[in-house]
């Protein structure tokens, strides 16, 4: 059986836990503790994770961080488990939920692909007569493959309840700093994160950071994550809940609801909330863009740098922003060939120094090029790229084939606005910041008691996220009556640093975006009923 695990790496040492065996559709699969189910399956050669609802098209993972839901399977009888979020256990039984006779080979897919099903076809055709709705529902559930709920149960457990001064949602760079700063001043801080490990996307950043030395420059992201996690573990004022996803805030009742380890409800009441839930990767429209093997560049980075698993042998990178350039370099470090980086603009999007790193190792950067389609039946076997005209449309006749077994999409990120919206801030669409974001004051307050920090407040860098988190953490503590002049001075300092970090031409867009969302007095707006 194939094993895509990286055995030697120039920068990383993979701490694979004990070897365990999981049963995938009855067959034993070797895995290591610390690996997620999705990572272990991918390493053993499984590429098709599920099938799409309607046309039953093959689906692989895309994001590898619990956002895209393309990797859902039945695990020990529980349906719809995001396999990229759950770690393996010895003897675990995993099966895919969709496809007939199997997910790999779905005989209905070719039939459905020839049918023209309007977007709401199922709903319209199967709503009447109402007497048959129950039967339809059962059929539909089976047909779309969203799993069988029969095995789930066991009675409801009492919710865990936390009453704290500051609750931080999301343990990436912003959330970690917020918790560290608040934890130094307040008595009770709760930090929750939906992964099994703190650090957010820092844990996969193997490159050295730019920035100011007095701060974090020259350091590698995963090292920073380790240090901050270590620091927090020593703080008695900070309680950490991992594998805990916040799913709602109830303003009337005044509590945040989360689910822990997929089964236990957690109720959190806090005086101040810091929301730092990060971002998710965008995708791109092209033929076959849902084919397994078309992955988010960040997803590939997770697979490769956190779990030590190669995405394939040769890849195509779409997008030459810093993420695209950095992940290309990291692919080379993992011993994976990068056939080319295509960029639709006439110029490299990221830093020239990052581009130079991959160019001198022989990776071509094709500006004014785009991907036209992905080739392959159940997984990527190649790609077609083409030159584009000044309106970014592919020029007919310039198409050419690239042989690759995966494609990385690196076309930017979008802030996760799901949770922050529950707090009813005023949301605005700001393309410069990556999508929908709330208006806020200079401390990141979107309401009197709610702060936002990091990528979910606008797509930027880890360094700026850390600064925003620190400012939110200190300010929240000040508002609770902790700290004094020294803390005010430190906020000033962090703000100055933030301004300096945003001093390059690369930050012009960010600054223009921030102008649209910064307000002077958020409390006044709240009192005036001008927020959501």
């Amino acid at each position: 059986m194939a094993d895509l695990r990286i055995r030697e790496h120039p920068i990383l040492e993979f701490e694979r836990g004990k070897e365990v065996t999981i049963y995938f559709e009855g067959k034993p699969v070797k895995a290591y503790e610390n690996e997620t189910i999705a990572a272990a399956l991918y390493a053993s050669g499984v590429k098709v994770f599920s099938r799409s609802f309607k046309y039953r098209r093959a689906r692989g993972f895309f994001c590898a961080i619990g956002r895209c839901s393309a990797c859902m399977m039945e695990v020990d009888g529980v349906p719809n488990v995001r396999t990229c979020m759950v770690q393996v256990r010895d003897g675990m039984k995993v099966r895919r939920q969709k496809g007939w006779p199997s997910t790999e080979l779905d005989l209905l897919a070719p039939v459905l692909s020839r049918m023209d099903l309007s977007p709401s076809a199922y709903l319209k055709r199967m709503a009447r007569p109402s007497a048959l709705r129950r039967v339809y529902l059962k059929l539909m559930r089976k047909f779309t493959g969203i799993g069988s709920a029969k095995a789930v149960g066991g009675g409801a457990k009492r919710p865990e309840v936390y009453d704290v001064e500051v609750a931080v949602v999301g343990g990436g760079p912003a959330g970690l700093m917020a918790a560290i700063e608040a934890g130094q001043l307040c008595r009770s801080v709760l930090l929750i994160d939906d992964k099994h490990k703190l650090g957010g996307q820092l844990i996969k950043q193997t490159h050295k950071f730019f920035g100011n030395v007095s701060y974090c420059a020259g350091r590698r992201g995963f090292k920073l994550a380790e240090e901050m996690t270590e620091k927090i573990s020593k703080m008695s004022s900070v309680k950490v809940l991992t594998s805990t996803s916040a799913f709602a805030y109830y303003p009337g009742e005044g509590f945040l609801a989360a689910v822990r380890d997929g089964s236990r409800i957690v109720k959190i009441r806090a005086k101040k909330y810091v929301v730092s839930t990060g971002a998710y990767e965008r995708t791109l429209v092209f033929e076959n863009n849902d084919l397994p093997g078309v992955y988010g560049a960040g997803g590939v980075q997770t697979l490769m740098n956190v779990y030590g698993i190669k995405p394939g042998e040769a890849g195509l990178m779409v997008g030459s922003g810093n993420v695209g350039l950095i992940v290309s370099y990291q692919l080379l470090q993992a011993g994976v060939d990068v056939k080319a980086i295509v960029e639709v603009l006439p110029r490299v999007g990221g830093y020239l120094v990052h581009a130079a790193k991959v160019r001198r190792l022989g990776v071509p950067i094709l500006t004014r090029h785009t991907i036209v389609k992905a080739l392959g039946k159940t997984h990527v076997e190649g790609a077609v790229i083409a030159k584009v005209d000044e309106n970014f449309n592919p020029i007919p006749g310039t198409e050419r084939r690239i042989d690759c077994d995966f494609i990385c999409i690196s076309v930017g990120l979008t802030p996760t606005y799901d949770l922050i919206q529950h707090f009813k801030p005023k949301m605005v669409m700001v393309p410069e910041l990556g999508g929908f974001v709330p208006i806020r004051d200079i401390y990141g307050r979107v309401r009197r008691d709610v702060y936002i920090a990091g990528d979910c407040s606008g797509i930027e860098e880890a360094a700026t996220a850390m600064l925003e988190g620190a400012i939110a953490g200190i300010h929240a503590s000040l508002m609770l009556g902790y700290g004094g002049e020294e803390e005010k001075r430190r906020i000033e300092e962090y703000m100055k640093e933030l301004e300096e970090e945003r001093g390059s031409p690369f930050s012009e867009r960010i600054k223009a975006g921030l102008k649209k969302v910064l307000v002077e007095d958020i409390e006044k707006l709240e009192e005036g009923g001008e927020l959501g």
Binding site: P10, G218, S320, Y351, L352, E500, R502, P505
Partner: protein, 166 residues
Amino acid sequence: MAEYLSRGYLTTDELREMELLPPEDVVRRKRVAVIECVQEIPCNPCSVICKVGAILKEGLCKPPRVDWEKCVGCRMCVAICPGLAIFCIQIKDGKGYVTMPYEMLPKPSKGDKAVLLSRAGEELGEGKVVEVFRMVRGDPAYVITVEVPRPELVYEVRAVRIVKGG
């Protein structure tokens, strides 16, 4: 738009025009740093780590310049630069020496054969690894010095592919 932005790297001519390459008489006299970083990026590890104040930076974002008279070729900036954009070069006894960061496999050792690569990734012949360091405590990356057969190649070689058992 500058052409290097579509190419993804700077050519020797462009660097020379920007006065970022040390003149040959300096390079024949001593080992000095070459910084191939021209964009405004918020970053300062190079100028902070330089013990002799040879790397000048006006503020966090302005690109650095090297004062080659002051530079002592200690190579700390090569090891610390997050953009892997700093090299040290020297010409000695008719041979060229390029010091560069090396973050790839196979792990380098002294005496290894090195396929020399240009900024564009083109092969420029064969050299030899003559020095291997790990300069930053706790950091697994290497800094290596490669001997190149022709002195003028110190201005061209910016990466290597190491061949074991060469």
